[in-house]
């Protein structure tokens, strides 16, 4: 049985619950982290000294880091369609995973922390505006990429390449701030939105 430790509204937990459902893998999730039980509690620290969600326990094998977890779950389920075994195809999927978690995410953080979490360190409108500008720049890059090579990031089918970016795209539409129309991103959002697992865990009204 797969156990997932982490609150359902965490972007990194949602990567794991989304992928687990794509794999048809039953899981049990418990709330930990901001607004719930603290990850500093000994019960959590025994599981993972790092105090960061998500952590998973798969029949006693403990793993953290959301991108690593999704790669492991797909490899274990032998889902070549989501995470190719061919090393070159696999590496290209991983490159997009890193892009979606780093370059694309860099501008998201200040906007999300400022407008959604209302973290005092991010309440300066200049910080939020700079984040929004950087986020917009990367989303335009995504729009161009999907126009040229879509409909998914690694081609014709959903792969793990789409998971970090799919989380960010939901935030883009779920957080109200001024943004340009990006038709290819919107079509991508709707394409992902046809998937029950994405609807349930990502496109569910929570930024």
């Amino acid at each position: 049985m797969l156990k997932i430790y982490g609150r359902a509204n965490s972007s990194n937990v949602r990567k794991v619950t989304w992928v687990a459902d794509e794999l048809g893998l039953p899981f049990e999730r418990t709330d930990w982290g901001r607004g719930f039980r603290s990850t500093d509690e000994p019960e959590f620290k025994r599981l993972s000294a790092f105090g960061v969600v998500p952590v998973v326990d798969i029949n006693g094998f403990i793993l953290r880091e959301s991108n690593t977890i999704t790669r492991y779950l797909c490899a274990r389920a032998r889902r070549d369609d989501l995470y190719p075994t061919d090393l070159k195809a696999r590496a290209l999927v991983e490159a997009w995973m890193d892009w979606g978690s780093s370059d694309l995410y860099a501008g998201v953080r200040p906007v999300f922390m400022g407008l959604v979490v209302k973290n005092p360190a991010f309440m300066d409108p200049a910080i939020i505006a700079a984040g929004a500008a950087e986020w917009t720049r990367q989303m335009q890059r995504l729009d161009g990429e999907l126009a040229a090579n879509g409909p998914y990031l690694a081609g014709a089918n959903l792969t793990l390449a789409d998971v970090p970016t799919g989380i960010v795209v939901n935030r883009w539409y779920a957080i109200p701030f001024e943004k340009p129309a990006l038709p290819h991103v919107h079509a991508y959002y709707d394409l992902l939105g046809q998937r029950p697992a994405y609807q349930q865990h990502v496109r569910n009204g929570t930024p």
Partner: protein
């Protein structure tokens, strides 16, 4: 022959070059980025539409993003050495590579290194440096525990996990920041810095990168 695009002073290029050297692969490195420019050219956009370094060209197979490049090289050319065998061992190495990006990269490179190299002494944010160094030190305590009784992060062999985390360590140890005394991390860093590939590719003096007044 492998080609790696990127200036040797980029920490992400260093990571890839260190892996290439550990694997003993014939290669050519082509300067790009920073003072060498090239990233804005149409030719470079074909290699990497994100216009960043490093880019790997393995006989026509083009790949960007340093951790995926290191994992690709490790699996293609170093299964059982840089890439641990078995799904669990591989996932454990992968999680430490992710950790290097999600937990310590921003503070070591984005805050500390940037402040000492790209900001003048007069504008340097010493409070931000101190806070970032404290966070890194706290996180390295967990790495110290991982290295207790192990020569390397995943056991008795150097793996892709050491490459991703270790590349950041030269800068961490050479920046003038407060560091906690961590016997296992110190010993591990000492063993990395005794390796010729690490010396050649990761221990690149960053002093010449400073802007005037830094």
């Amino acid at each position: 022959m492998l080609k790696v695009w990127g200036r040797k002073t980029s920490v992400n290029v260093q990571k890839v070059m260190w892996a290439v050297a550990e694997l003993g692969l014939p290669h050519e490195r082509i300067d790009a980025g920073g003072p060498f420019g090239r990233l804005d050219t149409p030719e470079y956009a074909v290699l990497n539409p994100n216009r960043q370094v490093p880019v790997l060209d393995d006989n026509g197979f083009i790949l960007w993003e340093s951790n995926p490049i290191v994992r690709y090289l490790a699996e293609q050319y170093g299964r059982g050495t840089l890439a641990p065998e078995g799904r669990h061992g591989y996932a454990r190495a992968d999680q430490w590579m992710e950790w290097s990006i999600t937990e310590i990269y921003r503070d070591i490179i984005g805050v500390c290194f940037t402040n000492f190299v790209r900001v003048t002494a007069k504008d340097r944010d010493t409070a931000a440096i101190a806070a970032a160094a404290k966070r890194v030190g706290d996180k390295l305590v967990i790495l110290d525990r991982q290295l207790d009784g192990r020569a390397f992060i995943c056991g008795d062999k150097l793996t892709m996990a050491d490459i991703a985390v270790g590349t950041l360590m030269y800068r961490y140890y050479t920046l003038p920041v407060e560091r906690p005394k961590l016997a296992n991390v110190d010993r591990w860093y000492g063993s990395l810095s005794a390796r010729a590939p690490y010396q050649a590719h990761a221990m690149i003096d960053w002093q010449p990168m400073k802007i005037p007044g830094a």
